[in-house]
């Protein structure tokens, strides 16, 4: 029982990181119908910025905020300078834009070692090394803190989307771009802010994930888990992404531990199976809306 709890919490802690990255994917998907394959690499890039700020002597939480601010600007600039023009010329074809995000993925992933070198950077453990005892299991402060951050994210997201004029406009654009423009919403600016917000969430995910040591491959695997999480929860549902992330985290940790042949090497397998099953049984995800095409 205590061992089970231990792995459950470990899974929840990892899941909170996937959830955070999945929220980033969902924000962009909702606004633009686009899967941003560069989301993980953008997060990795921001995490190096967090590291630099921390290395320069800033307290870790402040360094994370610096990284998130950097992420916001980075996301907004990428949208404005790259995504918007390509989208405009693609005339409704999503493929060119997806290709551009894959290009960004490659560019960022090869740029990082050029800037910061290939050695793994020592990175602070969020909330320190301690742990508490719970029903005989020892739960680290890091896991508890990460879960608390996730809770905070949910509240902040809810407040932004349900309680602010900006959030209302972002939801309007997500639902119907053309009508929003005709109602007076500057759609381009909303998309920019959406990309900025998503990248800021990505930076936060990176800051929580990099305690294992920071290299340019930091977010490769988490991105795949985040895709699984968003698929599970529904690509148009931020709440679904959070639940999906936690489920994916728990399922991978528990199956790695309890199903002998999976272990650490095949950890990705359960996540992949999860995606497959969801796509077969409920393609819109647990909390997603069925796409209804009205003529």
């Amino acid at each position: 029982m205590s061992e089970f709890l231990q792995f459950l919490f470990l899974g929840l802690g990892q899941g909170a990181i996937y959830a955070t990255l999945a929220v980033a994917l969902v924000i962009i998907y909702r606004a633009t119908g686009l899967l941003n394959f560069a989301q993980g690499e953008m997060a990795m890039f921001c995490t190096f910025v967090i590291w630099m700020a921390w290395d320069a002597g800033l307290p870790f939480p402040l360094a994370v905020l610096v990284g998130m601010a950097f992420g916001f600007v980075m996301g907004a600039v990428i949208q404005l300078a790259i995504i918007a023009p390509v989208t405009k010329r693609a005339h409704g074809n999503p493929l060119p834009v997806v290709m551009v995000t894959i290009g960004l993925f490659l560019a960022l992933s090869s740029l990082a070692p050029i800037i910061w070198g290939t050695d793994a950077k020592v990175f602070p453990v969020a909330f320190g090394e301690g742990s508490i005892e719970l029903f005989g299991a020892s739960i680290t402060h890091r896991v508890l803190g990460t879960l608390a951050i996730l809770g905070l994210e949910v509240v902040v997201l809810w407040l932004i989307f349900q309680r602010t004029r900006l959030g209302l406009a972002m939801r309007a654009v997500a639902s119907n771009e053309e009508s929003s423009a005709l109602a007076g919403v500057p759609v381009g600016r909303m998309l920019m802010i959406g990309w900025g917000m998503a990248a800021a969430f990505g930076a936060l995910a990176g800051g929580l994930a990099a305690y294992v040591g920071l290299t340019n491959t930091l977010m490769l695997v988490p991105l795949i888990y985040a895709f699984a999480a968003a698929t599970l929860g529904g690509f148009d549902s931020p709440g679904g992404a959070v639940v999906g992330g936690l489920v994916v985290g728990v399922v991978t940790e528990l199956s790695a531990h309890y199903i002998p042949f999976i272990g650490n090497d095949l950890k990705l397998l359960p996540a992949f199976l999860l995606i497959l099953i969801v796509l077969l049984v409920r393609p819109q995800g647990l909390f997603g809306k069925r796409q209804v095409v009205r003529v």
């Binding site: 209302l168 939801r171 009508s179 423009a181 007076g184 919403v185």
Partner: protein, 237 residues
């Protein structure tokens, strides 16, 4: 016509290589209701889309003394032009009240809530459904919502694209009566494109007839209503 609120001249627009509008001239004065009649495919929607900046165009489009050609739709809303597109264009995932709030996005004054209450008074059905998703309402209710949302911007010019489309005759009649009232009370000019000539001409001051991309007739609402050819083509009697 000097001092017109909207003055369109030599308007040409289309989609890629397809030319739809040729040499279109018309105007709308402050507080006026103007109707453009035209059959399917005449270019009515294209005309409105060109004015509100949704598609590119050539020629001159002058609103309140300023050229507005090439401006973005959201900038035009702030300048005073609100466009209710064909097929209503309500934001179906938002509630009725949220749709109205979005309509006031360009405004910074503190009277948004008062305006919402006002349009709920004028369109009581919207008030009853304030917290429902717009997508769950009937076609007629959504058309009212779309118009109320456009009015939330406090426009000086309202562009309406076939508001009668898909509505029962009685609902359409009620809607046009409400439009006439709104126009009389707020002084908002209305440019409405329609196939339903009867009802549109009944509330309009002036009208134009658009045929395959060109304006072929114009006159006061009475003149158009009594014109033999127009009666045959658009009024059906």
């Amino acid at each position: 016509m000097n001092g017109a609120l909207l003055e369109v001249a030599n308007l040409e627009a289309g989609y890629g290589p397809v030319e739809v509008l040729r040499n279109v001239h018309f105007s709308v004065a402050s507080g006026e209701i103007v109707v453009i009649l035209g059959a399917n495919g005449a270019g009515k929607t294209t005309t409105l889309r060109a004015i509100s900046g949704m598609i590119g165009c050539r020629g001159s489009v002058v609103f309140a003394g300023q050229s507005i050609r090439g401006r973005r739709p959201d900038q035009l809303v702030a300048a005073g032009i609100a466009h209710v597109p064909q097929g209503r264009g309500t934001i179906t995932d938002l509630t009725v009240e949220e749709n109205l709030r979005i309509g006031a996005y360009c405004r910074r004054d503190g009277e948004v809530d008062a305006d919402i209450a006002r349009w709920f008074d004028v369109f009581p059905r919207l008030g009853e459904r304030a917290t429902q998703p717009a997508g769950s309402m009937s076609g007629g209710e959504q058309q009212m919502l779309a118009i109320a949302r456009a009015l939330m911007a406090r426009p000086t010019l309202l562009l309406l694209d076939e508001p009668s489309l898909g509505l029962a005759p009685l609902v359409t009649k009620e809607l046009f009566a409400q439009l006439a009232t709104v126009n009389a009370e707020t002084g908002t000019a209305v440019l409405v494109v329609e196939q339903n000539a009867n009802l549109a001409l009944a509330i309009a001051h002036r009208g134009y007839v658009l045929e395959v991309g060109e304006l072929v007739a114009s006159g006061s609402a009475e003149e158009l209503m009594t014109d033999e050819a127009i009666r045959k083509a658009y009024l059906g009697f």
